[in-house]
């Protein structure tokens, strides 16, 4: 875990009492033929038959995002996070509910009247314009005078380290470069809120990790509120001040990365953020000694000899190693518990060789972990 992710999310809340983004009872239903029209894109793409069944993409969301915050919306595809973002941007009109930006109701306002800018998943660069023209677009349509415009475009390109690329066409750039142009194009307008829709989704792993750090650095440098949509829990945990976990059009949990990871509010959050090691029912009663469902993060569990004794503050369970997956720095063991169910255990390969690790398959082991690490999870 990066240090940023564990920092308390007080920055934004301290600087402003009014939320940068406030969502009240937001609902979006697609394929709603009642009004006779509805935009034909987005989560529930309606390119099929016109009067298809309606899809409830966002099922009532209340949320405050503080000024200056790096806020992530995390969830699987179809969970409503992108639709929510598009409603904040103004691309979709909510079926019900209100959207407030810095205290101002913008629910019915078109995108071009909102003080937000968006970085699109596919970058949405204008193919028929040069990089400089792309970046300058927002300034041109707002009639910012020429000299100022040029200076700001140059500034923005410098910030994303693309000086000297201004004459190129988007088609001549790599994926990472396009992503930076999209970022510069949004930032050059100095919006108070920047919306990012899975901006790194199309990049390869290494580039993505670099960009994550860079994005975070830029956000801290400009001090703009970032609302960041991703389905990658690692990314959300790495970058966010706070994050919201979406599932089926609702928010399951809002909190700091540490909160969400270590104290998942629901089974879904426990499963989606990190590996779901769930103990429930009889198994839970036998091992943890309480009723309900508990989760234990794989890296908190220790593999021990079957005859070793657990410490008093430790829970323990007997099991058989069913599968061993060698991951380089770590090894992942899947252990079938004698009490029923399975737990995943990851161990750093500090003193173990791959040969040793792989030969562990089929062995009987004792699993132990500190009792404070088995966390109760709310049922849905």
């Amino acid at each position: 875990m990066t240090p940023e992710a564990s920092r308390p999310p007080t920055r934004g809340e301290a600087s402003s009492a009014v939320a940068a983004v406030r969502l009240e009872g937001l609902v979006k239903r697609f394929g709603d033929a009642g009004t006779g029209a509805g935009a034909g894109t987005g989560a529930g793409d309606t390119s099929g038959s016109a009067s298809a069944d309606t899809v409830l993409a966002v099922a009532g969301i209340d949320l405050d995002i503080a000024d200056g915050e790096f806020f992530s919306m995390l969830g699987p595809s179809g969970s409503g996070k992108t639709t929510t973002l598009r409603m904040i941007a103004g691309f979709e009109l909510p079926t019900a509910g209100r959207i407030l930006l810095h205290g101002e109701d913008v629910t019915d306002r078109p995108p071009f009247e909102r003080d937000v800018n968006t970085v699109f998943q596919d970058y949405a660069l204008f193919p028929h314009m040069s990089v400089a023209d792309n970046v300058a677009y927002g300034l041109v349509v707002r009639k910012v005078p020429g000299p100022e415009r040029q200076a700001r475009v140059a500034d923005a390109l410098r910030m994303v380290r693309l000086e000297g690329y201004d004459r190129r066409r988007p088609g001549q750039l790599s994926g990472g470069q396009r992503q930076r142009v999209a970022l510069a194009r949004a930032l050059v307008n100095r919006p108070r809120v920047l919306l990012l829709d899975e901006p790194l989704g199309a990049l390869d792993l290494k580039l993505r990790e670099e960009m994550q750090i860079e994005l975070k650095a830029i956000q801290q440098a400009v001090g703009i509120t970032f609302v960041y949509v991703t389905h990658d829990q690692q990314e959300a945990l790495t970058m966010s001040d706070r994050l919201a976990v979406f599932n089926r059009g609702r928010i399951e949990q809002v909190g700091t990365p540490a909160d969400v990871y270590e104290r998942p509010a629901t089974r879904f959050v426990a499963g989606f953020v990190g590996t779901s090691n769930l103990l429930s029912g009889e198994t839970a009663r036998a091992i943890v000694g309480g009723s309900g469902t508990f989760t234990v993060r794989p890296e908190k569990i220790r593999l021990a000899e079957p005859d070793s004794q657990p410490a008093p503050d430790e829970a323990s369970a007997m099991g058989t190693i069913r599968e061993v997956v060698y991951l380089g720095p770590d090894t992942r063991y899947i252990v079938a518990l004698d009490a029923g169910g399975e737990l995943v255990v990851t161990q750093q390969n500090i003193a173990t060789s791959s040969m040793e690790a792989l030969s562990a398959k089929g062995r009987t082991v004792r699993l132990t972990w500190k009792r404070q690490h088995n966390l109760p999870v709310g049922e849905e």
Binding site: A37, G38, P110, I224
Partner: protein
Amino acid sequence: MSTPTDARAGPGTRPGIARRLAIWLHPRQGLQLRLLLAGPLGWLAIAYLGALAILLLNAFWEKDAFTGRVEPFAWTLNAFRDLFGHEVYRTVAVRTLIMAVLVTLTDALLAFPIAYYMARIATPRVRAMLVIAVLMPLWAAYLVKVYAWRTILQGNGFMEWALSPFGVESPGLDEIANSWLVLSYLWLPYMILPIYAGLERIPNSLLEASADLGAKAGATFRRVILPLVFPAFVAGSIFTFSLTLGDYITPDLVSDAKFIGNVIYDNSSLGNLPLAAAYSLLPIGIMTVYLLIARRLGAFDSL
């Protein structure tokens, strides 16, 4: 970076009228749609469907046998009685339908090999040249082509000259086969191009996968290529079929046989509008059914 909102217009400045209209329209999606559709639908309804409706009304109106004057709102079924009373109208309808089917099949048979060659075998250079070569006769005047065939088919024409060594006489300008030949010729590009586009859309990997899975060339053709290119066939057939169904100039110029188009044209130009209107219902009905089937077969996406 300075204050975040400096790019916005200040609260004192009013946006222009166009922009205010845009703002006002934004939440009114239904109104936007109506505004967009008002022009094209109004046009379609007045200039096309309205005209069709007036024509169809004429089918039910009385006509003076001597002067040919149509009496509006004098309702009668005389035109339909005439249509059903004379066998010739049935004969002509059947003949036209058979011709439309024949022309469509002929074009499909001729079009597929060259479309296949263009899409999958020719080098990009040759392909580009072929596409232009196929497009050009499509743009060249329709009448010019029909007329060219007249000069070929008539006595002492090219056909006679080319075939006389084999002891074959010129077909003259009254054979029904002429219509089949010339109509197939005229509409061939309309069949080649959709099939070519359809074949080009099939990724190579699909055919390789089929071969990889053990299908022989024939099986790949039958089970992969044909089903994928079938909507393109149907799209092309809309043109070959409907254009044949309605043409009256070509049959008139190169043969002696009468088709639906001739009967409609003749009756309208000879002063029996109600009969022409009543008979028009036939191609309208046939094409409507054809289009509904074609749409179901996915042809509209290949147009």
